[in-house]
């Protein structure tokens, strides 16, 4: 429940941050730089006098944009590639899954960071890099589902009446594979949000002065001794958002398939 409530709040913040943030996130004011949290600035101000709460609120938009876009792209790629790999011949399966294995051979975000170095900074490139790294997970899950569904009565009956492979995949395989894909996707949003923050933390992601939680943490590092709130609040909101997606994903998995429960 907590996860769902937080996610709804985050989505609202992402859609209309300009009506909720108390200040312009890009407005600088050196007269009030590095102010500790107060009633006027609940999360304090950064080195340029910008309100941290407003920047955190606007940062929600970047995180949600990246998280949801990555997951949508991955679901589409994973559904089609996984279904084709599981349904068709050994050659198709081998080619797609070996390519997936190569992508999965890179641990964590190493490949995403390498791709960002090649593509350059910016939100579209972050979405592209993280999607390219994480689609194999969805493809594997959907392939597994496809192999199971291939043996069901209704799929065998469809083939018996002469339905071609593409139609079987579109009408039967993909619609019945969406549930496990959605569970993976919900957990995947949390991962994508973390990935964007990490890439921006390294200075390879979002371009300043656009507010991003990861970028705010890296910009605040030099002031950590006397003004730790600059990095504390963005990190806290980032952590709670990822926790919310993980809790929601766990709940969804328990509801859809209790046998998958962790």
């Amino acid at each position: 429940m907590f996860g769902l409530v937080w996610i709804i709040m985050a989505v609202i913040l992402a859609i209309v941050p300009q009506y909720i943030a108390p200040y312009d996130p890009l407005a600088t004011n050196t007269a009030i730089r590095l102010q500790a949290p107060s009633l006027a600035h609940l999360f304090g101000t950064d080195e340029f006098g910008r309100d941290i709460l407003s920047r955190v609120i606007f940062g929600t938009r970047i995180s949600m944009e990246v998280g949801i876009s990555v997951v949508l792209i991955d679901m589409i790629l994973g559904l089609f590639l996984g279904a084709f790999a599981g349904y068709y011949s050994k050659i198709t399966d081998t080619v797609i899954m070996r390519f997936a294995d190569i992508m999965l051979a890179f641990p964590g975000l190493v490949l995403a960071i390498l791709l960002m170095a090649a593509f350059g900074p910016g939100v579209p490139n972050i979405i592209l890099s993280v999607s390219l790294v994480t689609w194999p997970v969805y493809a594997r899950v959907i392939r597994g589902e496809t192999l199971r569904l291939k043996r069901t009565v209704f799929v065998r009956a469809s083939r018996a009446i002469g339905m071609n492979g593409r139609t079987v995949i579109m009408k039967h395989i993909i619609p019945n594979s969406i549930a496990p894909a959605v569970v993976v996707a919900t957990l995947g949003i949390g991962y994508a949000v973390l990935a964007e923050a990490g890439i921006s933390f390294l200075g390879l992601g979002v371009i300043p002065p656009t507010p991003s939680w990861g970028l705010m943490i890296t910009e605040g590092l030099q002031y950590i001794l006397f003004d730790p709130y600059i990095i504390f609040f963005p990190g806290l909101i980032l952590s709670i958002t990822v926790i919310a997606f993980n809790l929601f994903g766990d709940g969804l998995r328990d509801a859809l398939d209790p046998s998958m429960r962790i």
Binding site: R98, F106, I231, I262
Partner: protein
């Protein structure tokens, strides 16, 4: 068993070749002329640039460059650091060992604490202890390790003066904070997985029989349940070591730990192709090797895997 190992090794060869191709392709997609970037503004003579480019093989077609790269790789030649002129292997190997040291320490933290917490949680299912451990585990596994590292520095280095802020020396004080930042997330994952695995086993008929025979809870858990529950946990733990190698990237930057992640980060900012290629290659190959070892270990511990494998081959 040997057949299974041979099969796993054979499957890995195209994956490794694909890895090298991917690294090479991505490296050469990085915009900007590396020669001009390395030389900076001081040297603009096009003839000098051409000579350097020819010496580095950058004037050849891309497929020729890749073939030369692959040939050198097989000979153990990873190229020369553009900035220092030293063989890249001289920098990458020691850095890789330091990353391995950090990842291994984080891994030990994750399994030595995660497994007991998972066992306690499973034995006290749905109690306050269980819920507390699970909430903490979800929280830990969701925290970004670079932010956690900064918070740990604030608390233990800046406020309590218990550890140094960053850097490396052969002293436990230097490794404990980066290892915690890296390992606490996996601790959460291990605890949750252990709980799930143990609960799965505790629901089995033979456990019910053991209870009916009057065996103590401790004996049931340790002598019967844990042995079977540990099989998937060992598999997960093995894979975690691989993930920790990649996750060390951010932690090494925060704590100025001179590992391969920090080396790769420097290489990205310098457009240092040979150094970046070698760094990423080492981490990726280590990950593939760890996955193979885990698969073989899993097959060794659980004989059903080998039987399923033989059935697939029609033996």
């Amino acid at each position: 068993m040997l057949r299974y190992i041979a099969k796993r090794l054979l499957i890995s060869i195209p994956v490794l070749i694909g890895l090298t191709a991917m690294i090479f392709a991505v490296m050469h997609s990085i915009p900007g002329d590396p020669v001009q970037i390395w030389l900076g503004l001081s040297l603009r003579d096009p003839r000098a640039i051409q000579v350097i480019r020819a010496r580095l093989g950058l004037d050849q077609p891309v497929y020729v460059q890749y073939f030369l790269y692959l040939t050198r790789l097989l000979q153990g030649n990873f190229g020369t650091d553009i900035r220092t002129g030293q063989p890249v292997l001289q920098e990458v190997l020691p850095a890789f060992m330091l990353t391995l040291e950090l990842a291994a320490t984080a891994w030990l933290i994750a399994i030595l604490l995660g497994i007991p917490f998972g066992i306690i949680s499973a034995r006290r299912q749905n109690s306050i202890i269980d819920r507390s451990i699970m909430i903490t585990s979800v929280g830990l596994s969701s925290l970004p390790n670079f932010w956690l590292g900064v918070i740990l520095i604030l608390i233990f280095s800046v406020t309590l003066h218990l550890t140094p802020v960053a850097g490396y020396a052969s002293s436990p004080q230097y490794i404990i904070l980066p290892a915690l930042a890296l390992g606490l997330g996996q601790l959460g994952v291990t605890a949750r997985f252990t709980r799930s695995s143990l609960l799965e086993v505790l629901r089995q008929d033979y456990i019910r029989s053991a209870k009916a025979r009057g065996l103590s809870e401790f004996k049931i858990t340790v002598s019967h349940a844990l042995k079977n529950a540990l099989v998937p946990i060992i598999t997960l733990s093995g894979l975690q070591l691989g993930y920790l190698l990649g996750g060390a990237f951010f932690v090494e930057v925060i704590f100025a730990w001179p590992g391969i992640g920090r080396l790769a980060y420097r290489a990205i900012t310098e457009r240092n192709y040979p150094l970046l290629q070698a760094s990423v290659f080492f981490v990726a190959v280590a990950f593939v090797v760890i996955n193979i070892v885990v698969d073989v270990l899993y097959a060794r511990i659980d004989p059903r895997i080998q039987v399923e494998n033989k059935e697939e081959e029609g033996v």
